[in-house]
Symmetry: C2
Subunit: 255 residues, 2 copies
Protein backbone atom coordinates (compact mmCIF):
# COMPACT_ATOMS: atom_id res chain seq x y z
CA UNK A 1 0.00 0.00 0.00
CA UNK A 2 2.36 2.70 -1.15
CA UNK A 3 1.29 6.16 -2.10
CA UNK A 4 -0.59 6.05 -5.39
CA UNK A 5 1.78 7.80 -7.81
CA UNK A 6 -1.02 9.71 -9.47
CA UNK A 7 -2.28 11.12 -6.20
CA UNK A 8 1.15 12.43 -5.28
CA UNK A 9 1.22 14.76 -8.27
CA UNK A 10 1.02 17.90 -6.20
CA UNK A 11 3.66 17.38 -3.58
CA UNK A 12 6.10 15.75 -5.93
CA UNK A 13 9.58 14.49 -5.45
CA UNK A 14 12.32 16.17 -7.47
CA UNK A 15 12.52 13.09 -9.60
CA UNK A 16 8.86 13.28 -10.48
CA UNK A 17 9.19 16.93 -11.30
CA UNK A 18 12.17 16.28 -13.52
CA UNK A 19 10.29 13.51 -15.22
CA UNK A 20 7.25 15.69 -15.82
CA UNK A 21 9.53 18.38 -17.18
CA UNK A 22 11.14 15.92 -19.59
CA UNK A 23 7.76 14.71 -20.80
CA UNK A 24 6.72 18.32 -21.30
CA UNK A 25 9.90 18.95 -23.29
CA UNK A 26 9.21 15.92 -25.45
CA UNK A 27 5.71 17.22 -26.16
CA UNK A 28 7.08 20.67 -26.96
CA UNK A 29 9.67 19.28 -29.37
CA UNK A 30 7.09 16.91 -30.79
CA UNK A 31 4.82 19.82 -31.54
CA UNK A 32 7.63 21.56 -33.37
CA UNK A 33 8.38 18.50 -35.44
CA UNK A 34 4.70 18.01 -36.09
CA UNK A 35 4.44 21.56 -37.38
CA UNK A 36 7.52 21.17 -39.54
CA UNK A 37 7.10 17.68 -40.97
CA UNK A 38 3.52 16.63 -40.28
CA UNK A 39 2.16 13.71 -38.34
CA UNK A 40 3.56 11.09 -40.70
CA UNK A 41 7.02 12.62 -40.42
CA UNK A 42 6.98 12.73 -36.65
CA UNK A 43 10.14 10.91 -35.61
CA UNK A 44 10.98 9.86 -32.10
CA UNK A 45 14.65 9.73 -33.05
CA UNK A 46 14.54 13.31 -34.23
CA UNK A 47 12.87 14.37 -30.99
CA UNK A 48 15.54 12.49 -29.09
CA UNK A 49 18.27 14.28 -31.04
CA UNK A 50 16.72 17.66 -30.25
CA UNK A 51 16.43 16.59 -26.67
CA UNK A 52 20.16 15.88 -26.71
CA UNK A 53 19.71 12.26 -25.79
CA UNK A 54 20.08 8.91 -27.44
CA UNK A 55 17.05 7.61 -29.30
CA UNK A 56 16.18 4.77 -26.98
CA UNK A 57 16.11 7.08 -23.96
CA UNK A 58 12.82 8.70 -24.90
CA UNK A 59 11.15 5.33 -24.52
CA UNK A 60 11.62 5.80 -20.79
CA UNK A 61 9.10 8.63 -20.98
CA UNK A 62 6.90 7.80 -23.94
CA UNK A 63 5.72 4.30 -24.58
CA UNK A 64 5.77 4.53 -28.35
CA UNK A 65 5.38 6.87 -31.26
CA UNK A 66 1.64 6.39 -31.08
CA UNK A 67 1.70 7.37 -27.44
CA UNK A 68 3.46 10.60 -28.37
CA UNK A 69 0.81 11.15 -31.02
CA UNK A 70 -1.84 10.74 -28.36
CA UNK A 71 -0.10 13.25 -26.12
CA UNK A 72 0.09 15.73 -28.98
CA UNK A 73 -3.55 15.07 -29.79
CA UNK A 74 -4.64 15.84 -26.24
CA UNK A 75 -2.35 18.85 -26.13
CA UNK A 76 -3.82 20.24 -29.34
CA UNK A 77 -7.41 19.60 -28.29
CA UNK A 78 -6.66 21.38 -25.06
CA UNK A 79 -5.17 24.41 -26.73
CA UNK A 80 -8.01 24.66 -29.22
CA UNK A 81 -10.57 24.22 -26.50
CA UNK A 82 -8.96 26.88 -24.35
CA UNK A 83 -8.82 29.42 -27.14
CA UNK A 84 -12.40 28.76 -28.16
CA UNK A 85 -13.57 29.03 -24.57
CA UNK A 86 -11.71 32.30 -24.09
CA UNK A 87 -13.15 33.76 -27.29
CA UNK A 88 -16.69 32.70 -26.43
CA UNK A 89 -16.52 33.78 -22.81
CA UNK A 90 -15.29 37.22 -23.82
CA UNK A 91 -18.81 37.98 -25.01
CA UNK A 92 -21.95 38.31 -22.90
CA UNK A 93 -23.95 35.17 -22.41
CA UNK A 94 -26.92 36.53 -24.30
CA UNK A 95 -24.97 37.51 -27.40
CA UNK A 96 -25.62 34.23 -29.17
CA UNK A 97 -24.71 35.47 -32.61
CA UNK A 98 -21.53 37.03 -31.35
CA UNK A 99 -20.57 33.93 -29.44
CA UNK A 100 -21.11 31.70 -32.44
CA UNK A 101 -19.08 34.01 -34.65
CA UNK A 102 -16.34 34.15 -32.02
CA UNK A 103 -16.27 30.38 -31.82
CA UNK A 104 -15.95 29.99 -35.57
CA UNK A 105 -13.28 32.61 -35.82
CA UNK A 106 -11.32 31.13 -32.95
CA UNK A 107 -11.30 27.69 -34.53
CA UNK A 108 -10.23 29.12 -37.87
CA UNK A 109 -7.50 31.28 -36.40
CA UNK A 110 -6.08 28.37 -34.46
CA UNK A 111 -6.28 26.11 -37.50
CA UNK A 112 -4.45 28.59 -39.70
CA UNK A 113 -1.80 29.10 -37.04
CA UNK A 114 -1.32 25.39 -36.33
CA UNK A 115 -2.17 23.61 -39.55
CA UNK A 116 -0.33 20.42 -38.62
CA UNK A 117 -2.16 20.13 -35.31
CA UNK A 118 -5.43 20.87 -37.05
CA UNK A 119 -4.67 18.16 -39.57
CA UNK A 120 -3.94 15.77 -36.73
CA UNK A 121 -7.30 16.46 -35.12
CA UNK A 122 -9.58 16.93 -38.10
CA UNK A 123 -7.74 15.61 -41.14
CA UNK A 124 -7.21 12.15 -42.46
CA UNK A 125 -6.76 9.66 -39.65
CA UNK A 126 -3.19 8.50 -39.20
CA UNK A 127 -3.22 4.96 -40.65
CA UNK A 128 -2.70 2.28 -38.06
CA UNK A 129 -3.29 4.70 -35.24
CA UNK A 130 -6.44 4.63 -33.18
CA UNK A 131 -6.82 7.39 -30.62
CA UNK A 132 -7.68 5.98 -27.19
CA UNK A 133 -11.25 7.16 -26.75
CA UNK A 134 -11.10 7.27 -22.96
CA UNK A 135 -8.39 9.93 -23.12
CA UNK A 136 -9.40 11.95 -26.17
CA UNK A 137 -13.19 12.17 -26.26
CA UNK A 138 -13.45 14.58 -23.36
CA UNK A 139 -11.01 17.18 -24.76
CA UNK A 140 -12.20 16.41 -28.27
CA UNK A 141 -15.81 17.32 -27.61
CA UNK A 142 -15.25 20.68 -25.97
CA UNK A 143 -15.76 22.77 -29.11
CA UNK A 144 -18.92 21.07 -30.29
CA UNK A 145 -20.33 21.16 -26.78
CA UNK A 146 -19.73 24.88 -26.66
CA UNK A 147 -21.45 25.30 -30.01
CA UNK A 148 -24.57 23.35 -29.11
CA UNK A 149 -24.51 25.16 -25.79
CA UNK A 150 -24.82 28.46 -27.62
CA UNK A 151 -27.68 27.17 -29.75
CA UNK A 152 -29.42 25.67 -26.75
CA UNK A 153 -29.11 28.84 -24.70
CA UNK A 154 -30.44 30.86 -27.62
CA UNK A 155 -33.39 28.55 -27.91
CA UNK A 156 -34.14 28.71 -24.20
CA UNK A 157 -34.06 32.50 -24.43
CA UNK A 158 -36.44 32.43 -27.35
CA UNK A 159 -33.80 33.86 -29.66
CA UNK A 160 -33.92 30.95 -32.09
CA UNK A 161 -36.52 31.71 -34.70
CA UNK A 162 -38.50 28.54 -35.13
CA UNK A 163 -39.26 29.28 -38.75
CA UNK A 164 -36.11 28.82 -40.74
CA UNK A 165 -36.14 29.29 -44.43
CA UNK A 166 -36.82 25.93 -46.07
CA UNK A 167 -38.68 23.59 -43.79
CA UNK A 168 -36.88 20.27 -44.08
CA UNK A 169 -38.46 17.27 -42.46
CA UNK A 170 -36.29 15.27 -40.08
CA UNK A 171 -36.68 11.57 -40.91
CA UNK A 172 -37.68 9.35 -37.97
CA UNK A 173 -34.45 7.35 -37.84
CA UNK A 174 -32.47 10.56 -37.57
CA UNK A 175 -34.87 11.92 -34.99
CA UNK A 176 -34.05 8.96 -32.75
CA UNK A 177 -30.35 9.77 -32.86
CA UNK A 178 -31.04 13.42 -32.18
CA UNK A 179 -33.38 12.61 -29.32
CA UNK A 180 -30.72 10.57 -27.55
CA UNK A 181 -28.21 13.39 -28.04
CA UNK A 182 -30.72 15.80 -26.55
CA UNK A 183 -31.27 13.51 -23.61
CA UNK A 184 -27.58 12.90 -23.01
CA UNK A 185 -26.65 16.57 -23.08
CA UNK A 186 -29.86 17.80 -21.47
CA UNK A 187 -30.73 20.04 -24.37
CA UNK A 188 -33.95 21.95 -24.80
CA UNK A 189 -33.43 22.76 -28.46
CA UNK A 190 -35.84 20.75 -30.64
CA UNK A 191 -34.70 18.10 -33.09
CA UNK A 192 -35.05 20.07 -36.33
CA UNK A 193 -32.84 22.83 -34.97
CA UNK A 194 -30.41 20.28 -33.59
CA UNK A 195 -30.16 18.62 -36.97
CA UNK A 196 -29.33 21.97 -38.50
CA UNK A 197 -26.81 22.51 -35.76
CA UNK A 198 -25.01 19.35 -36.82
CA UNK A 199 -24.87 20.67 -40.36
CA UNK A 200 -23.52 23.99 -39.14
CA UNK A 201 -20.90 22.13 -37.14
CA UNK A 202 -19.65 20.10 -40.08
CA UNK A 203 -19.88 23.10 -42.38
CA UNK A 204 -17.69 25.28 -40.20
CA UNK A 205 -15.02 22.61 -40.14
CA UNK A 206 -15.53 21.88 -43.81
CA UNK A 207 -14.83 25.50 -44.70
CA UNK A 208 -11.79 25.61 -42.44
CA UNK A 209 -10.47 22.32 -43.77
CA UNK A 210 -10.77 23.51 -47.34
CA UNK A 211 -8.74 26.57 -46.46
CA UNK A 212 -6.12 24.85 -44.33
CA UNK A 213 -5.70 21.87 -46.63
CA UNK A 214 -5.47 24.04 -49.72
CA UNK A 215 -8.56 22.73 -51.46
CA UNK A 216 -9.32 26.14 -52.84
CA UNK A 217 -6.85 26.84 -55.56
CA UNK A 218 -3.82 28.89 -54.71
CA UNK A 219 -5.31 32.10 -56.09
CA UNK A 220 -9.04 31.46 -56.33
CA UNK A 221 -9.86 33.41 -53.19
CA UNK A 222 -7.88 36.40 -52.05
CA UNK A 223 -10.53 37.58 -49.58
CA UNK A 224 -10.51 34.51 -47.38
CA UNK A 225 -11.46 36.34 -44.20
CA UNK A 226 -14.50 37.79 -45.91
CA UNK A 227 -15.38 34.42 -47.40
CA UNK A 228 -15.35 32.77 -43.99
CA UNK A 229 -17.30 35.60 -42.38
CA UNK A 230 -19.90 35.31 -45.10
CA UNK A 231 -20.15 31.59 -44.50
CA UNK A 232 -20.63 32.11 -40.79
CA UNK A 233 -23.40 34.59 -41.43
CA UNK A 234 -25.23 32.22 -43.75
CA UNK A 235 -24.77 29.39 -41.27
CA UNK A 236 -26.25 31.56 -38.54
CA UNK A 237 -29.28 31.90 -40.73
CA UNK A 238 -29.52 28.15 -41.18
CA UNK A 239 -29.95 27.56 -37.51
CA UNK A 240 -32.30 30.49 -37.02
CA UNK A 241 -30.01 33.08 -35.47
CA UNK A 242 -30.14 35.56 -38.31
CA UNK A 243 -31.64 38.78 -36.98
CA UNK A 244 -29.41 40.67 -34.58
CA UNK A 245 -32.13 43.10 -33.60
CA UNK A 246 -34.27 40.33 -32.25
CA UNK A 247 -31.73 39.43 -29.64
CA UNK A 248 -31.36 42.96 -28.39
CA UNK A 249 -35.05 43.75 -28.45
CA UNK A 250 -36.35 40.75 -26.61
CA UNK A 251 -35.41 40.10 -23.04
CA UNK A 252 -32.13 38.28 -23.54
CA UNK A 253 -30.13 38.30 -20.36
CA UNK A 254 -26.89 40.03 -21.20
CA UNK A 255 -25.26 39.46 -17.85
Amino acid sequence: MDLPPAAAAKQSTPRERARAQTVADIIRLGRRHLALHGAAGLSLRAVARDLGVVSSAVYRYVESRDELLTLLLIDAYGELGDEVAAAVDALPEGDYRGRFLALGRAVRQWALREPASYALLFGSPVPGYQAPAERTTEPGTRVIYRMVGIFDAAHRAGALSAKVAPAVVVPPALAIDLASIRAELGLAVPEPALARGVLVWTSVFGAISFEVFGQYGADTFAARDELFEHHLEVLLGIVGLQAPKVEYLDGSRTG
Copy 2:
Protein backbone atom coordinates in the same frame (compact mmCIF):
# COMPACT_ATOMS: atom_id res chain seq x y z
CA MET B 1 13.16 15.09 -84.70
CA ASP B 2 12.03 11.70 -83.57
CA LEU B 3 8.46 10.75 -83.06
CA PRO B 4 7.17 12.44 -79.94
CA PRO B 5 6.72 9.55 -77.51
CA ALA B 6 3.35 10.81 -76.35
CA ALA B 7 2.00 10.96 -79.87
CA ALA B 8 2.98 7.36 -80.56
CA ALA B 9 0.70 6.06 -77.86
CA LYS B 10 -1.74 4.45 -80.26
CA GLN B 11 0.46 2.43 -82.56
CA SER B 12 2.78 1.20 -79.85
CA THR B 13 5.64 -1.21 -79.94
CA PRO B 14 5.31 -4.35 -77.82
CA ARG B 15 7.83 -2.83 -75.47
CA GLU B 16 5.72 0.27 -74.95
CA ARG B 17 2.64 -1.82 -74.39
CA ALA B 18 4.40 -4.00 -71.85
CA ARG B 19 5.65 -0.92 -70.12
CA ALA B 20 2.20 0.67 -69.99
CA GLN B 21 0.81 -2.58 -68.61
CA THR B 22 3.46 -2.63 -65.88
CA VAL B 23 2.69 0.97 -64.93
CA ALA B 24 -1.00 0.10 -64.77
CA ASP B 25 -0.20 -2.87 -62.53
CA ILE B 26 1.83 -0.63 -60.25
CA ILE B 27 -1.09 1.80 -59.97
CA ARG B 28 -3.47 -1.06 -59.26
CA LEU B 29 -1.26 -2.49 -56.54
CA GLY B 30 -0.62 1.00 -55.23
CA ARG B 31 -4.35 1.56 -54.87
CA ARG B 32 -4.65 -1.63 -52.88
CA HIS B 33 -1.83 -0.65 -50.58
CA LEU B 34 -3.27 2.82 -50.24
CA ALA B 35 -6.61 1.35 -49.20
CA LEU B 36 -4.96 -0.99 -46.72
CA HIS B 37 -2.31 1.22 -45.14
CA GLY B 38 -3.09 4.80 -46.13
CA ALA B 39 -1.03 7.33 -47.99
CA ALA B 40 1.68 7.55 -45.35
CA GLY B 41 2.07 3.79 -45.38
CA LEU B 42 2.36 3.52 -49.12
CA SER B 43 5.59 1.63 -49.71
CA LEU B 44 7.26 1.22 -53.06
CA ARG B 45 9.07 -1.83 -51.76
CA ALA B 46 5.80 -3.48 -50.82
CA VAL B 47 4.39 -2.74 -54.27
CA ALA B 48 7.53 -4.24 -55.77
CA ARG B 49 7.09 -7.36 -53.67
CA ASP B 50 3.50 -7.76 -54.82
CA LEU B 51 4.65 -7.18 -58.36
CA GLY B 52 7.12 -10.04 -57.90
CA VAL B 53 10.09 -7.87 -58.61
CA VAL B 54 12.99 -6.39 -56.71
CA SER B 55 12.44 -3.00 -55.12
CA SER B 56 14.70 -0.99 -57.36
CA ALA B 57 12.99 -2.27 -60.48
CA VAL B 58 9.86 -0.19 -59.98
CA TYR B 59 11.96 2.93 -60.30
CA ARG B 60 12.19 2.10 -64.00
CA TYR B 61 8.50 2.84 -64.26
CA VAL B 62 7.80 5.30 -61.51
CA GLU B 63 10.18 8.12 -60.78
CA SER B 64 9.65 8.16 -57.03
CA ARG B 65 7.19 7.51 -54.29
CA ASP B 66 5.75 10.97 -54.83
CA GLU B 67 5.28 10.20 -58.51
CA LEU B 68 3.27 7.13 -57.59
CA LEU B 69 1.25 9.29 -55.24
CA THR B 70 0.55 11.66 -58.11
CA LEU B 71 -0.56 8.78 -60.33
CA LEU B 72 -2.88 7.54 -57.60
CA LEU B 73 -4.18 11.07 -57.09
CA ILE B 74 -5.05 11.45 -60.76
CA ASP B 75 -6.53 7.96 -60.83
CA ALA B 76 -8.75 8.71 -57.83
CA TYR B 77 -9.86 12.08 -59.18
CA GLY B 78 -10.75 10.38 -62.43
CA GLU B 79 -12.79 7.68 -60.77
CA LEU B 80 -14.64 10.13 -58.56
CA GLY B 81 -15.27 12.45 -61.49
CA ASP B 82 -16.58 9.61 -63.61
CA GLU B 83 -18.97 8.38 -60.96
CA VAL B 84 -20.25 11.86 -60.23
CA ALA B 85 -20.72 12.55 -63.92
CA ALA B 86 -22.60 9.30 -64.40
CA ALA B 87 -24.86 9.98 -61.44
CA VAL B 88 -25.62 13.53 -62.56
CA ASP B 89 -26.13 12.67 -66.21
CA ALA B 90 -28.61 9.95 -65.28
CA LEU B 91 -31.11 12.67 -64.46
CA PRO B 92 -32.73 15.14 -66.85
CA GLU B 93 -30.95 18.42 -67.36
CA GLY B 94 -33.76 20.40 -65.81
CA ASP B 95 -33.93 18.39 -62.61
CA TYR B 96 -31.57 20.68 -60.74
CA ARG B 97 -32.54 19.45 -57.30
CA GLY B 98 -32.20 15.85 -58.34
CA ARG B 99 -28.86 16.45 -59.99
CA PHE B 100 -27.47 18.17 -56.93
CA LEU B 101 -28.67 15.39 -54.68
CA ALA B 102 -27.22 12.80 -57.04
CA LEU B 103 -23.88 14.60 -57.03
CA GLY B 104 -23.73 14.74 -53.25
CA ARG B 105 -24.72 11.10 -52.89
CA ALA B 106 -22.21 10.00 -55.50
CA VAL B 107 -19.37 11.77 -53.74
CA ARG B 108 -20.39 10.31 -50.40
CA GLN B 109 -20.78 6.78 -51.73
CA TRP B 110 -17.40 6.91 -53.37
CA ALA B 111 -15.82 8.37 -50.25
CA LEU B 112 -17.26 5.65 -48.03
CA ARG B 113 -16.17 2.97 -50.46
CA GLU B 114 -12.65 4.37 -50.93
CA PRO B 115 -11.81 6.17 -47.70
CA ALA B 116 -8.07 6.11 -48.30
CA SER B 117 -8.41 7.65 -51.75
CA TYR B 118 -10.81 10.21 -50.35
CA ALA B 119 -8.31 11.04 -47.64
CA LEU B 120 -5.62 11.44 -50.26
CA LEU B 121 -7.73 13.92 -52.21
CA PHE B 122 -9.53 15.81 -49.48
CA GLY B 123 -7.76 15.04 -46.23
CA SER B 124 -4.63 16.42 -44.71
CA PRO B 125 -1.98 17.10 -47.30
CA VAL B 126 0.82 14.54 -47.35
CA PRO B 127 3.73 16.40 -45.74
CA GLY B 128 6.56 17.13 -48.09
CA TYR B 129 4.43 16.28 -51.10
CA GLN B 130 3.14 18.94 -53.42
CA ALA B 131 0.81 17.76 -56.17
CA PRO B 132 1.92 19.01 -59.58
CA ALA B 133 -0.81 21.49 -60.41
CA GLU B 134 -0.49 21.10 -64.17
CA ARG B 135 -1.49 17.44 -63.90
CA THR B 136 -4.00 17.48 -61.06
CA THR B 137 -6.07 20.68 -61.32
CA GLU B 138 -8.03 19.54 -64.36
CA PRO B 139 -9.21 16.20 -62.89
CA GLY B 140 -9.45 17.82 -59.46
CA THR B 141 -11.95 20.46 -60.49
CA ARG B 142 -14.44 18.23 -62.25
CA VAL B 143 -16.78 17.79 -59.28
CA ILE B 144 -16.99 21.44 -58.30
CA TYR B 145 -17.43 22.45 -61.93
CA ARG B 146 -20.35 20.06 -62.18
CA MET B 147 -21.85 21.53 -59.04
CA VAL B 148 -21.62 25.15 -60.10
CA GLY B 149 -22.85 24.03 -63.51
CA ILE B 150 -26.03 22.76 -61.89
CA PHE B 151 -26.49 25.99 -59.96
CA ASP B 152 -25.79 28.09 -63.02
CA ALA B 153 -28.20 26.13 -65.20
CA ALA B 154 -30.87 26.45 -62.53
CA HIS B 155 -30.34 30.16 -62.39
CA ARG B 156 -30.50 30.55 -66.15
CA ALA B 157 -33.77 28.61 -66.13
CA GLY B 158 -35.14 30.85 -63.44
CA ALA B 159 -35.30 27.99 -60.98
CA LEU B 160 -33.06 29.64 -58.42
CA SER B 161 -35.22 31.66 -56.09
CA ALA B 162 -33.46 34.97 -55.70
CA LYS B 163 -34.82 35.47 -52.23
CA VAL B 164 -33.05 33.06 -49.93
CA ALA B 165 -33.83 33.04 -46.30
CA PRO B 166 -31.43 35.37 -44.52
CA ALA B 167 -30.08 38.04 -46.81
CA VAL B 168 -26.36 38.15 -46.17
CA VAL B 169 -24.39 40.92 -47.78
CA VAL B 170 -21.37 39.90 -49.83
CA PRO B 171 -18.44 42.12 -48.84
CA PRO B 172 -16.73 43.93 -51.74
CA ALA B 173 -13.42 42.11 -51.47
CA LEU B 174 -15.19 38.80 -51.73
CA ALA B 175 -17.32 40.06 -54.59
CA ILE B 176 -14.13 40.71 -56.57
CA ASP B 177 -13.03 37.10 -56.18
CA LEU B 178 -16.47 35.84 -57.11
CA ALA B 179 -16.65 38.12 -60.13
CA SER B 180 -13.43 36.72 -61.53
CA ILE B 181 -14.68 33.19 -60.96
CA ARG B 182 -17.86 34.08 -62.81
CA ALA B 183 -15.87 35.55 -65.66
CA GLU B 184 -13.48 32.63 -65.88
CA LEU B 185 -16.21 30.01 -65.93
CA GLY B 186 -18.69 32.08 -67.89
CA LEU B 187 -21.34 31.88 -65.20
CA ALA B 188 -24.60 33.76 -65.17
CA VAL B 189 -25.38 33.09 -61.52
CA PRO B 190 -25.04 36.28 -59.46
CA GLU B 191 -22.41 36.75 -56.79
CA PRO B 192 -24.59 36.23 -53.70
CA ALA B 193 -25.78 32.88 -54.99
CA LEU B 194 -22.24 31.97 -56.02
CA ALA B 195 -20.98 32.75 -52.55
CA ARG B 196 -23.62 30.45 -51.12
CA GLY B 197 -22.61 27.85 -53.65
CA VAL B 198 -19.08 27.92 -52.27
CA LEU B 199 -20.48 27.32 -48.80
CA VAL B 200 -22.58 24.45 -50.07
CA TRP B 201 -19.49 22.98 -51.72
CA THR B 202 -17.39 23.08 -48.57
CA SER B 203 -20.34 21.91 -46.47
CA VAL B 204 -20.94 18.80 -48.55
CA PHE B 205 -17.31 17.81 -48.23
CA GLY B 206 -17.27 18.81 -44.59
CA ALA B 207 -20.12 16.47 -43.83
CA ILE B 208 -18.53 13.65 -45.81
CA SER B 209 -15.15 14.21 -44.19
CA PHE B 210 -16.67 14.07 -40.73
CA GLU B 211 -18.23 10.75 -41.58
CA VAL B 212 -15.26 9.22 -43.38
CA PHE B 213 -12.69 10.46 -40.90
CA GLY B 214 -14.73 9.35 -37.92
CA GLN B 215 -15.27 12.77 -36.39
CA TYR B 216 -18.71 11.82 -35.26
CA GLY B 217 -18.36 9.47 -32.38
CA ALA B 218 -18.58 5.78 -33.06
CA ASP B 219 -22.21 5.56 -31.98
CA THR B 220 -23.52 9.12 -32.06
CA PHE B 221 -25.33 8.70 -35.35
CA ALA B 222 -26.82 5.43 -36.47
CA ALA B 223 -28.94 7.00 -39.22
CA ARG B 224 -26.07 8.39 -41.25
CA ASP B 225 -27.83 8.14 -44.59
CA GLU B 226 -30.73 10.14 -43.25
CA LEU B 227 -28.38 12.65 -41.68
CA PHE B 228 -26.62 13.26 -44.98
CA GLU B 229 -29.89 13.46 -46.89
CA HIS B 230 -31.15 16.00 -44.41
CA HIS B 231 -28.00 18.04 -44.83
CA LEU B 232 -28.35 18.00 -48.60
CA GLU B 233 -31.92 19.21 -48.33
CA VAL B 234 -30.97 22.09 -46.08
CA LEU B 235 -28.06 22.97 -48.35
CA LEU B 236 -30.43 23.04 -51.32
CA GLY B 237 -32.42 25.61 -49.43
CA ILE B 238 -29.32 27.71 -48.81
CA VAL B 239 -28.67 28.19 -52.48
CA GLY B 240 -32.32 28.76 -53.34
CA LEU B 241 -33.30 25.39 -54.82
CA GLN B 242 -35.80 24.43 -52.17
CA ALA B 243 -39.19 24.12 -53.86
CA PRO B 244 -39.48 21.16 -56.21
CA LYS B 245 -42.80 22.28 -57.63
CA VAL B 246 -41.29 25.45 -58.98
CA GLU B 247 -39.01 23.53 -61.27
CA TYR B 248 -41.75 21.44 -62.74
CA LEU B 249 -44.21 24.29 -63.09
CA ASP B 250 -42.03 26.80 -64.83
CA GLY B 251 -40.65 26.13 -68.27
CA SER B 252 -37.54 24.22 -67.32
CA ARG B 253 -36.27 22.33 -70.32
CA THR B 254 -36.28 18.70 -69.33
CA GLY B 255 -34.59 17.43 -72.49
